[in-house]
């Protein structure tokens, strides 16, 4: 009941957020624009539309994760609304997880809206609905909510600017994990290799959640790869949320 109360309130909070609505409208407009961009690419319309659409979903999802995810906790502290909630018979973990789930629900709705737009664009261009995009979209959503978990973790102990920076760093490193792995294998004698190895081990490998290229090329992703990506993202998200709860449990609300 308490967890659900925080979740539904956060859903209302984020769905009524003007920044989110603006980002979403911009994303939808950009996906629609892929129809025009597709026309310019001779013979590759289908690929360009899918590539453009999926990239827009990923990018705008990240923007929402950073802007809304960080504000989610910071605003509660700044406006002191967190005092009203945590002085009541509620566990702190219920508050953290409720906030997270509320935003995750809003993001699910956003991704659904962007997906419907992309499917509509593909339908206009190809005359059919391509459900082959669904696994890629599912993993994009997983990546976004993993980034929200990181944003929530950082914002529970540092400033909004640093939280945004750290989340962005995680995103960039997460997408270069393959390069790091190759670097470690190719140059085993380089100095500071331990540092690269530590970063590779500790950071999420977001390539596990990236099957966009296959979707663009019309190559069906094997179900086990999709399932692995989903479970990897879910496991990492749970791990980051546990860390966030541990930080928040000990936090003095000055």
């Amino acid at each position: 009941m308490r967890l659900w109360a925080v979740t539904t309130n956060t859903f209302k909070e984020t769905i009524r957020n003007r920044i989110l609505i603006n980002i979403l409208l911009f994303a939808v407009a950009l996906i629609l624009l892929s129809l025009v961009v597709g026309e310019w690419s001779l013979g590759h319309q289908s690929k360009v539309i899918r590539d453009f659409g999926l990239a827009a979903m990923s990018l705008f999802g990240l923007l929402i994760a950073i802007f809304i995810g960080i504000r989610l906790m910071v605003q509660e502290m700044e406006q002191r609304t967190v005092y009203l909630i945590l002085s009541k018979p509620i566990h702190r973990w219920e508050f953290v997880i409720g906030k997270y789930l509320g935003l995750a629900c809003t993001l699910a709705l956003n991704v659904l809206l962007m997906s419907l737009t992309l499917w509509a664009v593909v339908l206009v261009q190809e005359g059919r609905i391509d459900f082959g995009l669904a696994p890629a979209i599912l993993l994009i959503y997983m990546e976004i909510i993993l980034m929200v978990a990181f944003a929530l973790l950082f914002s529970s102990f540092t400033s909004p600017t640093l939280s945004a920076l750290f989340t962005l760093i995680i995103f960039v490193i997460g997408h270069t994990a393959g390069f790091l792995r190759d670097f470690i294998l190719l140059y085993p004698d380089k100095p500071f290799l331990w540092l690269f190895r530590a970063i590779y081990t500790a950071m999420p490998n977001l390539d596990n959640l990236n099957i966009k290229m296959a979707a663009v090329e019309h190559i069906p992703s094997p179900p086990h790869a999709v399932l692995f990506g989903f479970l990897y993202g879910l496991g990492y998200t749970v791990f980051v949320l546990v860390l966030t709860v541990l930080v928040f449990e000990k936090k003095d609300l000055k």
């Binding site: 308490r2 109360a5 957020n17 609304t81 005092y83 009203l84 909630i85 009541k88 000055k254």
Partner: protein
Amino acid sequence: MPKSVIHTEGLTKIYKGELGQAPVVGVESLDLDVREGEVFAFLGPNGAGKTTTIKLLTRLLFPTKGNVLIMGRPLSSRESMRRVGYLPEQPNLYGYLTGAEFLDFMARIFGLQREVRKKRIPEVLGWVGLSDHGGRAIRTYSRGMMQRLGMAQALINDPDLLILDEPMSALDPVGRKDFRDLILGLKKRGKTLFFSSHILSDAEMVADRIGILKKGRMTQTGRLDDLTGLRSGVIEVTFVPNRGKPAKSAFQKYNLDVQGRKILVRLENEEDLPALIREITRAGARLVSVIPQRQSLEDIFMAEIGR
């Protein structure tokens, strides 16, 4: 003897200093005992540690040392918080919600069922004078309305104990009067109230007991009647001299103040009173009043904080 509702022993909060700075004492060795059904005013200048104490009582801060019991239970027990209503200082509420939506959210955190919430929300909105504004977005509320709504959420669970941080500071005189009436009404219903304030007149009007905090330490605590009832030792005697008889000359040895036809004598020593009254009678004067001077809460407060 009424049950203890708030009990602290050696409650201490020391904030870690920011980089390179010394630790800051929020509250030190605070022993507090608030009994069932009483209104306790927690007074002190800004920075004395009032809000820190309240945050320690509501689990928002963790004590460095000491114990807190709320209705006999440790703070780690969520059960104790089920019967507590809390109003933070000048709360900013969720602007995107309407007043009624906000109260519904707060009620759901207490686990109140839908039927109870439906009945309770209009009731508390009425108590704080917001019956006609429950459907409005909170972002359109004035500061005073926000404070009233904050009080409404503190009452939503029908608490036995109310902890209010500067509840009257954002209110206009009408609002303060309404708030005082609300507090007195809650007291009549057997609720225990613990509130911080730096508005002494408000505290004086509603509190049974007060505690004065200075630099994180409790310097004075007691029943308001007892503290303000302490005689300062001065007695003011007023009389009207008999026409035709020399008045002032007969009382030259006293500290006189002539106020129109009346004469005011300030006696520094209570033992001089019988002699003065005999002389007033002998001079044929009419005795108007004999008033032992008492300390006001302001006198006590100023003395405690060293002003």
